[in-house]
């Protein structure tokens, strides 16, 4: 059952009405009690009517007594009517006053709390990242000063946010420049050294030159290929990655991807059979290879890697776990950021690309890691119930 939440305004208004009506009722109870006492006294006065039955000797005296009795009776009737009028009109006045005072209270309360409500909305906006807020200072002095402070704070936050954005951009460019320099330098150095060696041998030892020529060419080709790979990975990351989902069996896809690694590395598999997922096949391959590559790089030669595919409710959880170095807790939240890397050789684009590909396929990815014990990536795949596309 949904819990009903009362806002502060509703609570205060309800409390006021409750207290007000209760106090009115208590006061009225007292007045009613007093009126009852009055009624008793009035009824005692009615005994006067009995006095007219006393026959006096003279007719004149009788006439006087009758007149007196009439006067008393009329006064009693008048008193009774006044009492009735009091009961009716006092309750009417009370109700009128109650309604008017409630309206006045609600109106004043609304005026007082309106700026607070605006502040609440503004705070919500700030929470969502919109710092461009200006609230007109109004209301009571304290509220006005609160609004002014709030405006100052939002301005300050906006300035800080802009500065942060500039700093972040600068940092990204610096990081990118550093990575690019480093990554380009890495293959350039062996190329330069190989060329120097070739030149040197060509002049000093032509026989040896022949011998090392093809070996050197091989090194140069390899380093050029590395450079091409580097350019390729930057280019892939910069591109949009729209998903083109198709239906396939994740078990077969995982087996295909793992096959080339199984000869050189110790990979243990535990894959659920006969399941279907709707996913971009190429993206699936890229995600898997990136994570497997990371697992291999962080593990030592004897390290084992576990790849499992298990059912969890209507989802399939693809897990890749290694026994590598692990990721420090403070770095865990940053591993999917572009250009963030702790490896000596790496662009910091691999896991960022993995995250982008998962997002493009509306798939969740989570990571658990412990320094010295290893890392586990889990990809949450939605199970498809259709038949496989042919």
């Amino acid at each position: 059952m949904k819990k009903i939440k009362f806002s502060m305004r509703v609570f205060v208004i309800c409390l006021f009405i409750l207290l007000y009506v209760s106090s009115m009722l208590i006061q009225n109870q007292f007045i009613n009690k007093m009126q009852k006492e009055q009624d008793k006294i009035l009824s005692n006065m009615a005994i006067n009517t009995e006095t007219i039955s006393i026959k006096l000797a003279s007719e004149e005296e009788q006439e006087i007594l009758n007149k007196m009795s009439n006067k008393i009776n009329q006064s009693l009737a008048g008193l009774k009517m006044i009492q009735n009028e009091t009961k009716i009109y006092s309750s009417l006045i009370l109700l009128f006053l109650m309604v008017v005072s409630m309206i006045v209270f609600i109106f004043i309360f609304y005026i007082i709390t309106k700026p607070i409500k605006e502040l609440q909305f503004a705070t919500e906006k700030i929470k969502k990242g919109d710092f461009n807020i200006f609230l007109p200072p109004r209301g009571m002095t304290e509220i006005k000063s609160l609004i002014l402070s709030f405006n100052d704070m939002s301005r300050e936050l906006e300035t800080v946010q802009q500065k942060l954005l500039v700093a972040q951009k600068e940092m990204i460019w610096k990081d990118l420049a550093r990575i690019l320099t480093h990554e380009i330098k890495n293959p350039l150095t062996p190329i330069q050294l190989t060329l120097q060696r070739l030149e040197e041998k060509h002049e000093s030892d032509p026989e040896k030159f022949e011998e090392i020529f093809y070996e050197s060419l091989e090194i140069i080709y390899q380093e050029v290929a590395n450079l091409q790979n580097l350019v390729q990975s930057f280019s892939t990351f910069a591109k949009d990655v729209p998903a083109n989902p198709s239906l396939f069996d994740p078990e077969y896809a995982v087996l295909e991807i793992i096959k080339p690694y199984q000869n050189d590395y110790h990979i243990e598999l535990d894959l659920i059979k006969d399941k279907r997922i709707r996913f971009d096949h190429t993206h699936f391959y890229q995600i898997m290879t990136n994570i497997i590559q990371n697992a291999i790089e962080s593990s030592d030669e004897m390290g084992r890697i576990w790849v499992s595919l298990k059912q969890s409710h209507s989802f399939l959880v693809l897990s890749i776990r290694d026994e590598g170095k692990g990721i420090a807790h403070k770095d865990l939240s940053r591993i999917f950021e572009p250009y963030f890397t702790k490896k000596t050789k790496g662009t910091g684009l691999g896991l960022a690309l993995v995250k982008r590909l998962c997002d493009a396929n509306h798939t969740g990815i989570r990571v658990k890691s412990q320094i010295g014990r290893g890392t586990e990536f889990e990809i949450i795949l939605e199970e498809a119930i259709e038949n496989i596309d042919h």
């Binding site: 009329q74 009774k80 009517m81 009961k87 009370l94 109700l95």
Partner: protein, 179 residues
């Protein structure tokens, strides 16, 4: 129309305020159903006022002022008033002879009542003829009662006796078909 609506709203507000903030009871007056009887060319209509003088009337009865209970009789044909009559039942306490003098205007009848119960009965029974020969078709008959404002000369103040009926005019309606 608007006036009647506003008056009804006012009555409801008064009822609510009395209910919330007062121990005032007053009298919840109503009419018994109208009964009709053919007597020659006339239809004799009769009804009783119920619960009209139960509370707070004792002092008024004995005030020695002539007090009239007014009745309005209306006959409507297709929302058009075809007959209207206004009459009263009056009473006055005579302190000397210790009786109530009662006049029933519609019956041109005057009498005395010794007790309050007798007076209440005389005041409550309404009986009047309606000349039917003039009218044909579906006729709606409506009887309403109300109390006047009285001026108490001994205390120099006017009072609205309708307060004793909680400001509500009792009324009764009946549809008849005259062939």
């Amino acid at each position: 129309m608007i006036g009647s609506l506003l008056y009804k709203t006012y009555l409801n507000i008064v009822s609510l305020s009395v209910l919330l903030f007062s121990n005032y009871v007053g009298n919840s007056v109503s009419f018994s159903p109208l009964s009709m009887q053919n007597v020659g060319d006339n239809i004799v209509c009769s009804a009783h006022l119920l619960n009209a003088f139960e509370n707070d009337f004792e002092e008024i009865f004995k005030s020695g002022k002539e007090i009239r209970v007014w009745f309005e009789f209306k006959a409507l044909n297709n929302s058009k008033i075809i007959h209207f009559e206004k009459f009263y039942h009056a009473f006055k306490w005579d302190v000397n002879s210790r009786v109530y003098y009662v006049e029933l205007q519609e019956q041109s009848f005057t009498t005395t009542a010794k007790t309050t119960e007798e007076l209440v009965y005389l005041l409550s029974v309404v009986e009047f003829p309606f000349y039917r020969a003039k009218h044909r078709g579906n006729i709606s008959i409506e009887l309403t009662a109300y109390l006047p404002k009285i001026y108490m000369d001994e205390i120099n103040k006017e009072f609205d006796l309708m307060l004793l009926w909680n400001l509500k005019k009792p009324s009764v309606k009946k549809e008849i078909n005259i062939i």
